[in-house]
């Protein structure tokens, strides 16, 4: 699907007020809603604006990409959506619920249940085999070993790597490693997948494989995906592109 670019501030759904719900009937409430989100890094001498006044709604089932030059705040935005980093201003709401960034434990729980991450450098744990890597998010759900292994195998099947369960990451190609990372991200059936340049370390053929997989997850399983990418080709395949420049949302 060709991406439809949006002008700054012209988001599909009106920004939510903290603690409020959209007033007018319309599309389903956004799965992710950022309202005036900003991130400023402060040291004793200088302040650096990483993100300023970002309004963004991501509807359930959407596949959007975030683009911008290096240092434009793409990863910061993704980290804030993924509850890995706290904004210095504005409101982040997940599934209509405003997020309070105070408790690490609560944030960890929210991430565990709702969000899957795919990183550019895969970030697989080299000391664990494929199955153990994929099981990882389930460890923090208190599931039994049998359930964990069953779910991990199912996730590996979904990414076409069922035959590689006992390989170690170093024994796999880059594309295979990224597919393992995707299996890990989807094993707990999160509602939101955040992918930070998932094809950035892959050649074009492997990149294509990974993109096909992401589209399949979005199309067939309704997984909501927010993907940061530098590559216009891949961004064009998503439903919407959000553009950032110097921390500001420009499209």
């Amino acid at each position: 699907m060709k991406a439809q670019e949006q002008r700054a501030g012209a988001t599909a759904v009106a920004p939510a007020q903290p603690g409020s719900t959209p007033a007018q009937p319309g599309p389903a409430p956004a799965l992710v809603r950022l309202t005036g989100v900003e991130k400023v890094y402060r040291t004793q001498r200088i302040e650096t604006l990483a993100l300023g006044g970002v309004h963004l709604d991501v509807a359930a089932g959407e596949f959007i990409s975030v683009m911008g030059p290096s240092g434009s705040g793409k990863s910061t935005l993704l980290n804030i959506i993924g509850l890995l980093d706290a904004p210095t201003g504005g409101v982040v709401a997940l599934d209509g619920e405003e997020i309070r960034f105070g408790s690490d434990r609560r944030l960890a729980r929210l991430r565990n249940l709702n969000i899957g991450f795919i990183f550019q450098t895969f970030h697989l744990i080299g000391d664990l085999d494929v199955l153990d890597n994929v099981e990882l998010p389930l460890l923090y759900r208190g599931l039994s070993g049998g359930w964990r292994r069953m779910m991990a195998r199912a996730a590996l099947e979904r990414v076409g790597l069922a035959a590689r369960t006992h390989h170690f990451p170093s024994q796999l190609s880059g594309g295979q490693q990224q597919r393992v990372a995707i299996a890990r991200a989807i094993v707990g059936n999160p509602r939101l997948l955040l992918a930070d340049e998932p094809t950035g370390n892959l050649d074009s053929r492997m990149g294509e494989e990974v993109m096909e997989l992401l589209h399949r997850l979005n199309r067939e399983e309704g997984t909501t995906i927010v993907m940061v990418t530098h590559d216009q080709r891949w961004a064009d395949t998503t439903q919407r592109i959000v553009r950032l420049f110097d921390g500001r949302q420009v499209a």
């Binding site: 890995l84 991430r111 899957g116 990183f119 664990l128 990882l136 460890l139």
Partner: protein, 412 residues
């Protein structure tokens, strides 16, 4: 979860074999020293045969008499023990025994020195020696001053040889002949009360002067019916000390001392306490501080190794946090990994300790002692290993669990 932690802990350990060897050596050495200490301490104070009733036994090994210008302390005398301890009400048995002396005997032309204790009939009721031959002498033997003796296996070997039965044979002690009535297993020398080579009745003492002495030469064991009687017996003894009739009231007007358990007695002796003072609390405190100080250096070493090892895993920490691990979960994981490492080190240490204890036993440093790793020592070593693991694992784990997930992922 535990399986996962064991798996990754092992793989991380194997990733840097040199670090692993340094860590394990450091842990093993520390735990070897501590385990050997625990084993020696256990051997000295645990309820081992013949001190089977240690949990019901009180001892009086030192007293102090003082007056306006005089003070004397040491072992109590027979007269004092006979009058104020042997008559304690509601006890199962009271035994009076002499301090250890050296008896000289001759086998042909060869001079043989043996340790000798004089004791009474109740001694054999309170301490349950294993008799290899014959049996103990009785209270009647003591009363009648019969020249009978119980000897240990080593003395039988040295004085009588291993051929014919020892019971019924005579041994010469300081020019006097004693008939052997029993042979017991050797008791290690660190069991101060029970240890000796030869036991003879008190009544066979060369002089009867001991019967009138308040100080010096003897000690007592009191076997209570129940350990819950200890407070009552201790209090009753203190009351008796207040009313004690001292032989020379002009020179001495008070006496102090206390019935102590074996656990209280050892610290008092080691810390040079005055008679009657229990230094158990102070001893435990000093032991704890000593162990902590001893563990401090290897702990710091291990903390530093752990810091660098965990820092190498910052990417993993970032990933785990991203996928839902809370700081507390990560602390648990890293501490547990470290405890497992320490348990491996502890297991190696335990095996090495076994050899060292065996070697100490063979040096004859403590006569007749055979140091072993029993369940108590094993449990002690286990506790030490876990404690060491927690001590050296908590700080690095806490530091790394505070790592911001974004920063942790970027370090990679």
């Amino acid at each position: 979860m535990l399986g996962n932690i064991i798996k990754i802990g092992f793989r991380v350990l194997m990733r840097r074999k040199f670090f692993a060897a340094v860590s394990l050596s450091c842990i093993s050495f520390t735990l070897v020293v501590l385990t050997v200490l625990v084993a020696l301490l256990d051997h000295a104070v645990a309820p081992l045969p013949p001190e089977n009733h240690l949990d019901r036994t009180l001892r009086l090994t030192s007293v102090e008499m003082s007056g306006p210008d005089n003070r004397t302390s040491g072992n109590p005398g027979y007269a004092f023990l006979d009058r104020y301890v042997r008559t304690l009400p509601g006890v199962e048995a009271v035994s009076i025994l002499s301090e250890q002396a050296t008896a000289v005997s001759y086998v042909g032309e060869q001079r043989v020195e043996c340790k000798l204790k004089r004791t009474d009939g109740d001694f054999w009721r309170i301490l349950r020696f294993r008799f290899l031959e014959g049996g103990p002498f009785s209270a009647q033997d003591d009363h009648d001053a019969n020249p009978v003796a119980v000897i240990n296996a080593a003395t039988r070997h040295r004085l009588l040889g291993d051929g014919a039965p020892a019971v019924g044979q005579s041994i010469d002690l300081g020019g006097r002949s004693f008939r052997v009535v029993g042979v017991v297993e050797n008791v290690p020398a660190d069991r101060a009360i029970a240890f000796s080579d030869i036991w003879v009745p008190i009544g066979t003492s060369p002089s009867q002067q001991y019967r009138s002495e308040f100080m010096h030469g003897f000690q007592a064991m009191v076997l209570a019916k129940d350990r819950r009687d200890f407070p009552r017996l201790k209090e009753e003894f203190q009351q008796r000390l207040l009313r004690v009739e001292l032989p020379d009231p002009q020179a001495y007007d008070s006496m102090r001392g206390a019935l102590l358990t074996s656990y209280e007695q050892l610290p008092s002796e080691l810390l040079g306490a005055r008679p009657g003072e229990s230094r158990l609390g102070q001893f435990i405190g000093l032991l704890g501080v000593g162990m902590l100080l001893f563990m401090l250096l290897p702990t710091m070493n291990l903390v530093s190794i752990n810091m660098s090892r965990i820092y190498e895993r910052s990417s993993e920490i970032g990933v785990r946090k991203a996928f839902g691990a809370s700081p507390a979960t990560l602390v648990r994981q890293f501490v547990l990994e470290n405890v497992l490492l320490c348990l491996v080190g502890g297991a190696i240490g335990l095996v090495v300790s076994l050899f060292i204890l065996n070697w100490i036993g063979h040096t004859g440093l403590v006569p007749y002692a055979r140091f072993t790793l029993n369940v108590r020592v094993f449990a002690g070593a286990l506790v030490l290993a876990v404690f060491f693991g927690v001590l050296s694992g908590v700080y690095p784990a806490w530091r790394m669990s505070r790592l911001h997930p974004v920063a942790a992922l970027q370090i990679h």
